[in-house]
Symmetry: D2
Subunit: 353 residues, 4 copies
């Protein structure tokens, strides 16, 4: 059994990891750490876990990090994992991080990303020595590198959806790489468990709010990774919107066609590129993804349309932001890192209705 420690266990990210690992036959959670709400069983914070998990949450003091663990999951904000990774790696302990700390291959890339964070969240990287070792945690792009890796930077939730929609378009030279517009919509859980004015129920309910227009960090993340993977300069405008739903994320991606192409032809490019992928469904032309068809699962639905008169392709991608967008893709990565079946613990149906 792989002994796993989860740091940031009291947030939605940590919770998602706990839930998945509880039913994983090869992994055992050995400890839960957090900064707040410590000293009590996790089920006191999340009553739905009563009877399923009674592990105590301990304070995340440095001495506890990595204790009794083969793997540490950092379900923490930017700047936490980078403080512990070197020591953990030196001790031979695997690390997967949910923040941007280990998504990038150089300080320059990391700084470009941090430029999009608010000043209290942006951090100077304190562990750049590991940036040439870390792998970007998207199996559909970097499966070979993730296999056997011991340091993985899990993708951002919007980045997962955008990349899955864009990779075949750029690799296949289907759209002009400078013409990309992504209109993103996300459920509220993406913003975490901490109450805020913007997600107070009376404010969020029956509302729709665009935010960080053309300045969200996942836009830069996607451009960076895409440029690295495809060696093509990307021009991408990304505008996220906050939906009045709890889970689910959908991106509508627009791009100018490099040459005339019909939807079935472009769909075929997706089908071929993603052949054998265990969690991707390329829908028939004419069908559009919805969040309801994927929420509760690690599945990603992709739909292809073409606006012929205007020579544009429209790709719609839907995922559960907390699963394929966070803990689900993390477990997919962990399975690859440690040689388990990639789908182990992830065979969950979407929840409907």
């Amino acid at each position: 059994m792989l002994r796993t420690q989860i740091i940031g266990a009291t947030g939605y990210g940590g919770l998602g990891m706990i839930e998945l690992l509880l039913s994983h036959p090869e992994i055992k959670i050995t400890s839960l750490l957090a900064k707040t709400d410590t000293g009590q069983p996790i089920s006191a914070l999340f009553p739905h876990l009563r009877g399923f998990c009674e592990l105590r949450v301990d304070e995340a003091i440095p001495d506890r990090v990595g204790v009794d663990a083969d793997l540490v999951v950092f379900a923490t904000p930017d700047g936490v994992a980078m403080e512990h990774a070197a020591k953990l790696r030196a001790a031979g302990i695997g690390v997967i991080d949910f923040s941007g700390d280990f998504r990038f291959a150089s300080m320059a890339e990391h700084q470009r990303y941090c430029g999009r964070l608010s000043s209290d969240r942006a951090k100077t990287h304190v562990c750049h020595g590991l940036l040439n070792e870390t792998v970007y945690g998207m199996p559909e792009l970097f499966r070979r590198q993730i296999e056997g890796a011991r340091l993985v930077g899990n993708s951002g939730c919007f980045a997962v959806a955008m990349l899955l929609g864009l990779v075949p378009l750029i690799e296949g030279d289907i759209v002009e790489p400078g013409s990309i517009i992504v209109d993103g919509k996300t459920g509220v859980s993406g913003a975490g468990k901490k109450p805020s004015s913007i997600n107070h129920f009376p404010e969020r309910n029956e509302n729709l709010t665009p935010y960080r227009i053309a300045t969200h960090q996942h836009g830069v993340e996607v451009a960076t990774i895409l440029e690295r993977a495809t060696r093509t300069r990307i021009g991408l405008t990304f505008v996220p919107h906050l939906l009045p739903i709890t889970r689910g994320l959908l991106c509508t991606i627009y791009g100018q066609l490099t040459r005339p192409a019909a939807a079935p032809e472009i769909r075929n490019v997706f089908v071929e590129r993603y052949a054998g992928e265990p969690f991707l469904r390329v829908l028939p032309v004419g069908d559009a993804p919805t969040v309801k068809a994927v929420v509760g699962s690690n599945v990603c639905d992709i739909g292809v349309s073409v606006d012929t008169p205007n020579s544009r392709v429209v790709i719609v991608v839907a995922i559960d932001n907390l699963l394929k967008g966070q803990a689900g893709v993390a477990l997919q990565n962990i399975n690859l890192m440690f040689g388990f079946d990639e789908q182990l613990g992830l065979a969950r149906l979407p929840m409907y209705p």
Copy 2:
């Protein structure tokens, strides 16, 4: 493998059964029947099932009922199962029914229940010969009888919550049996998949609607079963309300105490009565059940409070109406009927957030 046929496969009840059985290691779905939307794979109707289940839905003509099956699940309205049960039983095929057809032990009981249905739903029973064989499908009340049974009438969703809250109160002589008031609240999925004015999104959203005030059939169902189980005459007023949520059901139960008693004492009665029950959680005094803590699972949460100045107990019970209130309790029953582990295929965490 137990070969199982699901009739009414295109409704929410049938869907719930499909989803649970897909991951059950001892049961195999051999056919899906329905009255409408037939001739296509079930995933064409429920796109979230793409890649998980591609079985075709066939028209529910009499000749197909029971074919290639050891068990037939009727996820159908009142009046359907009663037409087929005799033939199926004669052929040695097991039957579980989601309607009221086989919940009662006599024509009189069934007629009392039907008196609460609208005229187009009330049916004269055509299979009363089996009423002395059928078992009411609530394991917490009739586990011994369900074990090995081959004809079970699955409980109504509100009845599950009411009975789980009332049984210890009546058995323990804690409340006056004529003083019971149940204020029920349910999500919309309980009304099924067929669009209607009352559940059109703009009408249901941001709304709360009481309905069938003191005339809902589940009130009679509960009184009937409770009287049978406890040999006590029950006086129960039940008022259901439609919530603007998809899944989840909560009952707030009020009763006059027969003698002074504090909440911890009454809670103990529940704890003892339900010791060993795999899906029931009796919460600490001071904690109240919520639907969010149970939805997505077969769990039932129960909370106990006392209004001392007015000598009343308040029991709150929460379940997922589509799982513990329908397909989940059905699978619990099926496991008991066929000798599988009672929890097999039901070890699902609630989904949160």
Copy 3:
């Protein structure tokens, strides 16, 4: 023009008052005070007010209270109005308060109410000299006393609904006064604008939460006022539930009949008791109130049902918690206090859909 100052202008209660007074032909808002978010126009806090109201919010320092005002509206928590009322009344300035400070006629009543508040909210009354002057702000019960009054304690939101449902039952000797159960359901806005875990969108959405079971202060408020108005000892169990909606409040009231009576007969008692009331609608027997039919207006809908076999009446009452439950009834009171038409500024249709 009646010069009015609103204290607590940045909460939902103060906002509701601002919105109503903006279109009142006889009242002018002269100043807005608050404890936080001061120094900026109210429209910076509530962007929907841009172009409608650009008044600046000033800090609520004692010297500003009552300045340039004929009326001060305290849209503040318990304990604030009591500190200022004596000085304001001495200066001939009218006072209406949204908290419990001036709802009661004696220290004993006020203490009984405070016993239900959390310790940080309960206050020892510092202005009991005015308790014999203040009027309980429910026009349907105390219209004569409110007319011309200069100190009014506005009703609590749940109290409005409960009292409107109970007064005819108790006055008419229809139910046993010790047998009353009120199952309340409220939208989230009743808990105010301050973000909290319980009303964080992912926690509240798709949820239902009972709270303060049989210990909510509005239960005591109703019993106290009802006992005063009807000189009858009341036994009332009140259990509120938090709904996943923004506005709207519905109470389902249960009582044991003193003698057999059918629904139309009891409905007539309501119709006669409330003849001429401008904002009350007693629905035809068979129709049930819903929150959607009243939200956005000062209207209260009342429905009457009888459970004949169990000799119980069921009264359902629905209001908009922020209008008839707060700012709407406040304006009704203000109109009566200052001799304006009772309906002035309140002729708003419910918003549907």
Copy 4:
């Protein structure tokens, strides 16, 4: 008093018109017509109207159309108004239509629009003789022509938002006219009162659904009107999405800049273009419109952002789809047609929270 007949009174569009006209001091509703649910008072269908409007709904037979009316409002689908307009105009009766029948100036334009409708909704125009008389009902574009007009084709809801966001961009030569992408999001009420699978609560709740990708008729409507108004060939890709909210509509508009320009500069173009407009609010740079800030009112909020590295402008426009997107703009048009103050009956605050 302007005597007004509303046809299609039992839909959301007709209802919105009724609600606004009830409080209009110069207009009197003389009759309500509809195809279904006739023979009863409108308040039997819409219980929130009890006590506010008890007019009977009559069957919409041809002989009743225009009777006792100076103005007929067609709140009806495509193809209805065109059958009656000639007769009404010949009788000197004013006509305003909510469908596409009279939005266009030629058969060619109308056919282009109908090409986007489903076959059961597309109609061959039977009244092209009036197409040179009709005016497109958007005051911000065609105020002069609407003043005194007697035949107006009210704008489509998405078209209102798109045009208000695009007109200054095109008129001001700010964006490449062939580069426009509009990502639209709408509440469910835009689809009307008729229950459907897609808007059944359990299906719509917690969901987001793109539909008619790049083929929605309002995309063609906008291009047509914009080309007519600005004499510029427009290339526009429009993708609408169905939100899980009742009211509200938001468009995120993307366009390639013709030359470098910062957000404040572009915002100034909007401020100048819309100076004096009674219902438009151009937000400060850095603020984004939300639906919550406009719903319940006739207000339109517009926000301007620029993605400098990619030379794109992002315009966000938010309206209440049933008011500024339908009945509100209709009343604005009616006021202009008949010489009333443009804002009469429309001075409503948004409803918040």
